[in-house]
């Protein structure tokens, strides 16, 4: 098992380099450059050339890449061309906001989704099942930013229970986390239901009933335990999605975060910032999948044996 984790970790290194090449090429393929944002009105072509040379943007792309990757590997993510501060500082300032939002909404997705899924599966084809599946469907289909606006309207503006926007204590986190988390909860609920119903019909469940085990113990200890695998996969993949995809929510709630930082940098072609935050997000997806694999092999002895 440890050998497997070690091998998987080593594999992250080549993946990292492939990502840097892709991210670097993509951003430089987009027309426009940061210099235009820096130049004031009335500046000449000479001013432009001077700036290009100052930032090394006159060099061939592959030299630019090598310079950047060399510094990046040494732990220097460079300077923001526009903001004039180290990219690392910007990332480390914004990351906790994104992580907190991401993890809390993931937890909401997990607990709300699993609960709805269990209720639906146990009460299959009853009115309770239909109601919770409609809630799940709404969760999947309603866009997070719209839900965010409605939640602000109800809980912040009308009821004044929670702050409208900004960041700070947990009270600032609740509405954005619900907005992002409910979508995942809908997905998790539907997958939990389907997966549990599939397990329901398996032979071992019949034997559990024949053993005289109580219905509740069978549902939680056995059926849910077996049905949880696809849910873990979905949540692992969602971790990356939430970290990167929370942009609209960060904007709706006026929160700092990697998403809104990336968006601003993108509009201004602030290459170093865009590159670093894209790499952060892609690595988050990959590490999410990696963690999923490890949890998976702990949860399912059959998978564990495959990796021996």
């Amino acid at each position: 098992m440890w050998l497997y984790i070690f091998r998987r970790t080593l594999l992250l290194i080549p993946i990292f380099f492939v990502i840097t090449v892709v991210v670097f090429s993509l951003i430089h393929l987009v027309p426009g450059d940061p210099i235009s944002s820096l130049l004031g009105p009335g500046s000449t072509l000479d001013d432009r050339d001077a700036l290009l040379i100052a930032y090394g943007l006159d060099q061939p792309l592959w030299i630019q890449y090598l310079r950047w990757i060399k510094d990046f590997v040494m732990g220097d993510m460079g300077q923001s061309i526009i903001e004039k501060q180290p990219v690392a500082d910007m990332i480390f300032y914004n990351m906790p906001f994104t992580l907190r939002l991401g993890l809390l909404s993931l937890a909401i997705s997990f607990f709300v989704g699993i609960t709805l899924g269990i209720i639906s599966a146990v009460k299959k084809n009853t009115i309770i099942d239909y109601i919770s599946m409609i809630i799940a469907l709404l969760g999947v289909t309603v866009p997070a930013f719209w839900l965010g606006l409605i939640l602000i309207l109800i809980f912040a503006v009308e009821l004044s229970w929670l702050p409208v926007s900004g960041s700070g204590g947990i009270e600032y986190l609740i509405l954005p986390a619900i907005s992002v988390g409910l979508g995942g909860a809908g997905l998790v609920a539907r997958i939990t239901r389907v997966s549990m119903l599939e397990i329901y019909n398996q032979d071992f469940v019949l034997l559990l009933h024949a053993k005289g085990i109580s219905q509740n113990a069978i549902v939680i200890k056995h059926i849910l335990r077996n049905a949880i695998m696809p849910v873990i996969t979905i949540l692992g993949l969602r971790l990356g999605f939430i970290l990167g995809g929370a942009v609209s929510i960060e904007i709706v709630f006026g929160r700092p975060g990697i998403g809104s930082m990336l968006l601003t940098a993108l509009f201004r072609r602030d290459y170093p910032v865009v590159q670093a935050s894209l790499i952060f997000l892609t690595m988050a997806v990959i590490i999410g999948a990696f963690i999923t694999d490890i949890i998976y092999s702990y949860a399912d002895p059959r998978v564990r044996d495959l990796y021996k």
Partner: protein, 323 residues
């Protein structure tokens, strides 16, 4: 010890009601082995599930009477049945390959039942589970205890399932084709094991199978099922030597024997009718070579003959030729 009378199970699918089994009656005594035999689709497994009180899980409506040790099982609450199932009546399922929870160690799955029904500590339950496994001649029982189902062979899994079935010392064991999934060599071992268990612990064994060879080896009594009915029920020796129902006769004729002519292997023409189109009269009438017009219109009565055999056939007094 167990008396089943006029048992029927009803399902409603798409507003249509079907009764896959009906009019099931048989009885068995302590320490006896009753073989329930019949083709696929004859309702053997459903009968077993009905006795265990498991048909309600899949929406079946049950009627008739099941008396076990003087207790009327059909009047018991859900909760009461939970404490009878696995404790007094245990079940050994059809397919050992898929009957264990894949994510728990097999030992813990034996322990789970023991903890539920016996008032013992976790540690004592583990000790008892290992004893059971050794009693079932599982080599390296302590190591196997720690293993997961996918790491064990079919024969071992079967023994784990049997250990679950006998661990709580039930008075009645219902085994649903316990050997179908196994190699012939292992089958014989398991059958012998069952015989030993019933004799040693004086428990009743209701053995469901379509293998008449197995029945001949260990059963005391037999109930022959066809299309959801028991058509013949009696002492094994009497039924085997002098079958009264044409269906029993035909089943016995299908057993190949050494020295038979090549190409003379017999089969019963046609198929078992499905519950949605059971014939109006005798359900075997569509395949019976001795059919008379009355069979097609009237459901035959069950008659107890002088030899003790109960048979459900209009032509029970027929002297069926031996092959």
């Amino acid at each position: 010890m167990l008396k089943v009378s006029d048992l029927a199970v009803e399902f409603t699918v798409d507003k249509k009601t079907i009764r896959p089994i009906s009019g099931i009656s048989f009885e068995m005594q302590k320490g006896e082995v009753l073989g329930v035999v019949g083709e696929t689709g004859s309702g053997k497994s459903l009968t077993a599930h009905a006795i265990m009180g498991l048909t309600s899980l899949v929406g079946g409506k049950i009627s008739g009477q099941i008396v076990f040790e003087g207790k009327d099982l059909l009047s018991k609450s859900h909760k009461d049945m939970q404490s009878i199932r696995g404790a007094e009546i245990s079940f050994i399922p059809q397919n050992p390959m898929t009957s264990l929870d894949p994510v728990y160690r097999v030992g813990d799955q034996i322990v789970e039942g023991l903890l539920k029904h016996l008032k013992i500590t976790k540690w004592a339950a583990k000790k008892r589970a290992i004893e059971l496994m050794e009693q079932l001649r599982i080599p390296n029982a302590e190591r196997v205890f720690e293993q997961y189902p996918h790491q064990l062979s079919g024969g071992l899994k079967q023994r784990i399932v049997i250990a679950i079935g006998i661990g709580t010392e039930p008075k009645l064991i219902i085994a649903d084709e316990p050997t179908t999934a196994l190699d012939v060599t292992v089958q014989a071992q398991i059958i012998r094991l069952f015989k030993e268990l019933t004799v040693a612990n004086n428990v009743g064994l209701l053995l469901i199978t379509h293998d008449l060879g197995v029945i001949a080896q260990i059963c005391d009594k037999i109930a022959v099922m066809y299309a959801g009915n028991v058509v013949e029920h009696g002492d094994i020796k009497t039924v085997f030597s002098d079958p009264k129902h044409p269906y029993t006769r035909a089943l016995l004729d299908c057993i190949p024997y050494i020295g038979m002519k090549k190409g003379s292997l017999k089969a019963i023409e046609g198929n078992v009718p499905t519950p949605s189109n059971f014939p109006k009269g005798c359900r075997y009438s569509s395949r019976c070579p001795y059919v008379i017009p009355q069979c097609k219109t009237e459901f035959p009565e069950t008659i107890e003959l002088a030899c003790g055999t109960k048979v459900t056939c209009n032509k029970f007094d027929l002297n069926l030729p031996r092959h």
